[in-house]
């Protein structure tokens, strides 16, 4: 496999992982919003108002680091 196509395969695979985590925090966790609220801590409120947002920010920095590593490995970074 050529360097370029290997680089793109790895990039795509990172994209799918990133999007899977994104789907979890965008949708799946909020499906259970009501159940998360059932304890003494308002968990559904927390996830919609703070939890998902923090997760997104962490996810982006994780993605940036991983993509940087892929670029470096294949010698295609600037």
């Amino acid at each position: 496999m050529s360097n370029a196509s290997d680089h793109w395969e790895k990039t795509k695979s990172l994209l799918f992982k990133t999007l899977a985590i994104w789907v979890f925090f965008s949708f799946i966790v909020h499906w259970f919003g009501n159940s998360l609220n059932s304890g003494s801590f308002p968990g559904g409120y927390f996830m919609a108002g703070m939890g998902s947002q923090i997760a997104f920010a962490v996810l982006i920095f994780w993605f940036v680091t991983k993509q940087g590593q892929i670029d470096d490995e294949h010698g295609v970074s600037e």
């Binding site: 927390f46 998902s52 940036v64 295609v76």
Partner: protein, 608 residues
């Protein structure tokens, strides 16, 4: 700025001094208030001082180079670009309307909070780095070059103009609301004053000027948003950090909801008629429903706002200004960090405001007390007189019940300092913050529109031989014309802030999301497919919005006017795939170009 290299290298110092200067100004205003300067004068000074600073930055950043005018010389560091993007992004809707929406509509409204942040994951992973590598000046520039041909470029320009113009009208409206309140002037005059400030920031220096004013505006808006919430959390005795303290407040509000019968005590038809467009509190603070319909509505709103984030040109073009592809990616992360500073605070603000009004043990808790006492309060009179608030004693018992207190969501942010009994200086600060939020977004949007018209329509389609000077003169003329058109539309008072903002997101995602994403991620996508995707998606979305909003059609599956991207996007995707596959694949040169944008290394495709 004459010391250009010096300026870029000293950004932290420059904006550090600026922040201290601004805090000093706030303290000065607080002292003036104590010695008896009137509230009106303080309001004027806050608005006047901040607009003067933005205008000064705008004038100092003037330029006649196209690279500076369109993409700020591609030298903006990731962190500062993140800050500018946050200001560009957080509009009047985020600053003024969001906490009010959470206050009045509860849990379902928090879909906006999720949608308006998660979209950045899509920006970082699907688009920003690739568009940066491409090296375009505008979003239609990418569409026009990737797919080739003036038709594709023209379609992108049209979608951009419709989406951004809808959005900018809402922002100029927001500027007008804040300025008219803070300065005590009529709304349709305030709109034009706001526009003058906006144009001062962008006219002379284009993207370069907008970048550096947006950083300054971010600092003002975030200080203005955070201070009242921290103050309230501590004043009410819930704790030092409102973000942590709010969960106890949520539990307390839930007790109070039982006391005041929130959700069961509905406004009578006569009372609601007397209150007109204002709303009483009808839902609980944290009622996540288990019904499928509620989940569907939550998810579709989240999805529309996310895809819209990743297709709105004024956001995407901010990532054209970084020094490298890697910096563009990092900058998306920083954008979200700076956005979260405000977004994570909005629910706390809504909760503490609700607590202030509902808790009978607090002096500010007017619900359940006498109507006459409530009507004697200064802030109730002030906001009633401008039609933001109304008390209707429906059952005539002289006691203010939850279903008798009507308000506009916007006052949760604008009036909270007064509701919670904070000094006036905080109200002035909040007004300056709201103005900064609306102005910074309006700047970015006006520039996106004017640049698309001047670069893509005029230079690339109408007169490719135009020299740089002519192009930049045309760009500025267009900025004036578009700005005036926006202010004129806003002065007609046609749209509420949030409705129009959600429409802009849906226009953008219906027309541009798939043509942009597939342009990078699917080599087989071709010109015919992209044109079909843009026209089909945008047309279907716009038709659906028209039918639901004005044509009296019953929404399909609960997809109302805020969610018409759910109609536009699938149509766009299907049309684009079907038409692309039915026509010839792109030529070798285009495929090679796609290969090149997929790696950070090497020259930009468009090296203008």
């Amino acid at each position: 700025m004459r010391l250009e290299g010096g300026f870029i290298n000293n950004l932290s110092k420059v904006y550090g001094i600026y922040t201290l200067g601004f805090l000093g100004f706030v303290i000065l205003m607080a002292i003036l208030e104590q010695v008896g300067v009137s509230a009106d004068a303080i309001g004027w000074m806050f608005v006047g001082f901040t607009i003067a600073i933005y205008a000064l930055i705008g004038v100092l950043s003037r330029t006649m180079e196209s690279g500076q005018y369109y993409v700020a010389g591609r030298e903006v560091p990731a962190v500062f670009n993140g800050m500018a993007t946050a200001a560009d992004w957080m509009s009047g809707a985020s600053f003024i309307a969001m906490a009010g929406g959470i206050y009045l509509k509860g849990y379902p409204y928090m879909a906006f909070l999720v949608g308006w942040t998660g979209g950045y994951v899509l920006v970082a992973s699907l688009l920003a780095p690739y568009l940066r590598k491409f090296g375009c000046y505008t979003v239609p520039d990418f569409i026009g070059t990737r797919y080739g041909g003036n038709l594709a470029r023209l379609c992108a320009v049209i979608v951009l103009v419709v989406a951004s113009f809808t959005y900018v009208t809402a922002q100029i409206t927001g500027t007008g609301i804040v300025a008219s309140r803070a300065l005590n002037i009529p709304f349709n005059v305030a709109v034009w004053i706001g526009l003058a400030g906006i144009l001062f920031c962008s006219m002379l220096g284009g993207m370069r000027a907008v970048t550096w004013t947006q950083v300054a505006q971010y600092i003002v808006l975030i200080v203005a948003y955070l201070i009242p919430v921290f103050w309230m959390s501590n004043k009410l005795g819930y704790g030092l950090i409102p973000h942590v303290a709010q969960f106890d407040a949520v539990n307390r509000v839930q007790e109070l909801q039982q006391l005041h019968q929130v959700g069961t005590l509905m406004p009578t038809a006569e009372a609601q008629a007397a209150a007109g467009g204002l709303a009483a509190l009808k839902v609980g603070i944290n009622d996540a429903s288990d019904s499928l319909m509620a989940k569907w509505k939550f998810f579709t709103l989240v999805l529309c706002m996310m895809a819209g984030t990743a297709s709105l040109p004024h956001v995407l073009m901010r990532y054209f200004t970084t020094a490298s592809v890697k910096a563009a990616r990092q900058s998306v992360g920083w954008s979200l960090v700076f956005i979260c500073l405000l977004y994570l605070t909005a629910p706390a603000l809504a909760t503490f405001t609700k607590l202030s009004l509902l808790d009978p043990n607090l002096a500010t808790g007017i619900i359940g007390k006498s109507v006459a006492d409530a009507q004697a309060l200064d802030w109730v009179q002030k906001w009633s007189s401008v039609g933001f608030l109304k008390i209707v004693d429906g059952n005539g018992d002289g006691i203010l019940q939850i279903n008798e207190f009507f308000m506009k969501g916007d006052i949760v942010v604008l009036a909270t300092p007064e509701i919670a009994g904070l000094p006036y200086v905080i109200s002035g600060l909040v007004a300056a913050g709201g103005l900064a939020a609306a102005m910074s977004t309006a700047d970015g949007l006006l520039l996106a529109i004017a640049n698309a018209l001047s670069h893509d329509l005029y230079y690339k389609i109408i007169d490719p031989k135009a020299d740089t000077k002519t192009r930049l003169v045309v760009a500025r003329m267009l900025l004036l014309v578009v700005g005036a058109a926006g202010a004129w539309t806003a002065a007609q008072g046609l749209t509420g802030i949030l409705g129009a903002v959600a429409w802009a997101f849906c226009f953008a995602n219906s027309g541009l999301f798939f043509p942009l994403v597939l342009g990078v991620w699917w080599k087989r996508a071709n010109r015919a497919g992209a044109v079909a995707g843009m026209i089909g998606g945008f047309g279907a979305g716009a038709w659906y919005l028209y039918m639901v909003q004005f044509g009296g059609m019953t929404p399909w599956l609960g997809l109302d006017g805020l969610r018409f991207g759910m109609i536009g996007m699938p149509v766009s995707l299907i049309m684009m795939i079907v038409v692309s596959l039915a026509t010839e694949e792109p030529d070798a040169e285009t495929q090679k170009m796609v290969d090149e944008i997929r790696i950070p290394k090497g020259r930009a495709i468009l090296d203008a």
